[in-house]
């Protein structure tokens, strides 16, 4: 589950000062749709851009476990509970695939973890919103994972091999996430008046943040051109956002829910849904750390890290003992 064109913030990498022939050869390979692999030469700015994007993507998966994990113990049925556990476990798995992909670029797992726990790293700001009701679990699967899929499918063709391969695996799994979310919404909208109201309330709160997941509008998106040239990114933020709107609005209509936007209408001329202006000040406020749950999310990760310390230490001590045992055994046999 990801994301908001996470490549749109953070420091701009320094322009390429690499030796020209190698850089030209690299760009020619990218242009020819060849995949770049870890040991291949690559411009330093390409490497840094990918490290930033992949690690932020990984952090998003890990932090993304929290809002939904919040409902595991309160899922309405055993089936829903089993499904939610499986989904949250998938998010953890996605984080693992992505951390591994980032590590191939030369950053260590420990460094990335440190960046997340210190608050230095960014993650998708959608996860800084609270999950107040069960319907939020449905809305997240349907809208947040839906937006994530829209963002992630083009990354399956990213020029960097390990990232593209991780993305293929992730996209296969996301489809289950989105469908289980929609099914929760469907069940609620076919339920009592109170359940329908709960579903509508969840849509009201998650609609706009979901649209913001695609990142700032193209006019304000500073990294897009370079990322497109490197084929890390294939479509602009606004293009992906519009695609998401166009497929999601009819789904909301099917559910009998109202999109919380007075300006929303089908535009015959462009053959797209037109939406009202997005409140970008909210997006930037959440990004800066002032969302409803920024502190809570970070503290939860820090607590989990501390609480797991003894397990990691015990496993390391056990591995060390086994190693010295087999070493002394081997020495004994040799003697």
């Amino acid at each position: 589950m990801y994301t908001q064109a996470l490549d749109t913030h953070g420091k701009e990498p320094a322009g390429s000062t690499e030796a020209e022939p190698r850089a030209a050869h690299f760009q020619a390979r990218v242009d020819a749709e060849e995949k770049i692999e870890p040991k291949d030469w690559m411009p330093e700015a390409y490497r840094q851009t990918l490290i930033r994007q992949i690690s932020q993507h990984a952090h998003s998966e890990i932090v993304g476990m929290l809002p939904e994990g919040n409902w595991i113990s309160r899922a309405p049925t055993l089936k829903r509970k089993a499904v939610l556990i499986a989904k949250v476990q998938d998010e953890g798995g996605h984080g693992m695939y992505l951390y591994s992909a980032a590590e191939t670029l030369g950053i260590s797992r420990a460094q990335m973890l440190e960046q997340l726990l210190s608050g230095a790293a960014k993650y998708s700001s959608i996860f800084n919103y609270p999950t107040l009701t069960w319907a939020d679990v449905g809305a997240i699967g349907w809208l947040v994972d839906g937006a994530a899929i829209m963002n992630q499918i083009p990354i399956c063709r990213c020029s960097y091999g390990p990232y593209a391969r991780a993305m293929v695996r992730i996209c296969k799994e996301e489809s289950f996430h989105q469908r289980q979310g929609f099914e929760i919404m469907l069940t609620l909208t076919q339920g009592t008046r109170a359940q329908r109201a709960m579903a509508q309330d969840a849509l009201n709160r998650w609609w706009w943040p979901s649209l913001m997941m695609f990142g700032p509008s193209d006019a304000d998106s500073k990294h897009t051109a370079q990322s497109m040239r490197w084929k890390i990114k294939r479509f602009s933020n606004d293009e992906l956002r519009q695609k998401f709107i166009d497929i999601t609005v009819p789904q909301a209509h099917f559910l009998g829910l109202t999109i919380p936007d007075d300006e929303l209408h089908w535009d015959e001329a462009s053959q797209h849904y037109h939406v009202g202006p997005i409140e970008w000040s909210e997006f930037y406020a959440v990004l800066k750390g002032n969302g409803p749950c920024n502190r809570e999310r970070l503290e939860a990760r820090q607590r989990a890290h501390e609480a797991g310390r003894w397990v990691r230490e015990a496993a390391a001590a056990h591995a060390e003992r086994e190693r010295s045992r087999s070493a002394s055994q081997a020495a004994g046999e040799a003697a």
């Binding site: 798995g93 390391a316 086994e322």
Partner: protein, 95 residues
Amino acid sequence: MSEGDWPLFEVFIRSRSGLEHKHVGSLHAADARMAIEHARDVYTRRQEGVSLWVVRSADIVASDPGEADALFEPARDKVYRHPTFYAIPEEVKNL
């Protein structure tokens, strides 16, 4: 060994019997046994495999992409290693 130093393992999965093990990704673990258990959770949540291999990444010896040309070039002009190199008359069957 501190907790930050868990070595990296590469994971290979045999998706069903009769097929070869194929590289799927990597993970960190304190030792090989833990690597197998983690690989089960990270890479086979949907019955992706019937067998797992884990290998310490540090133990893998890889060819240098910079030397790829020198390494693989000798095979380039040996098209006679492929059956299509040989022209056989139409009327000859089963060849």
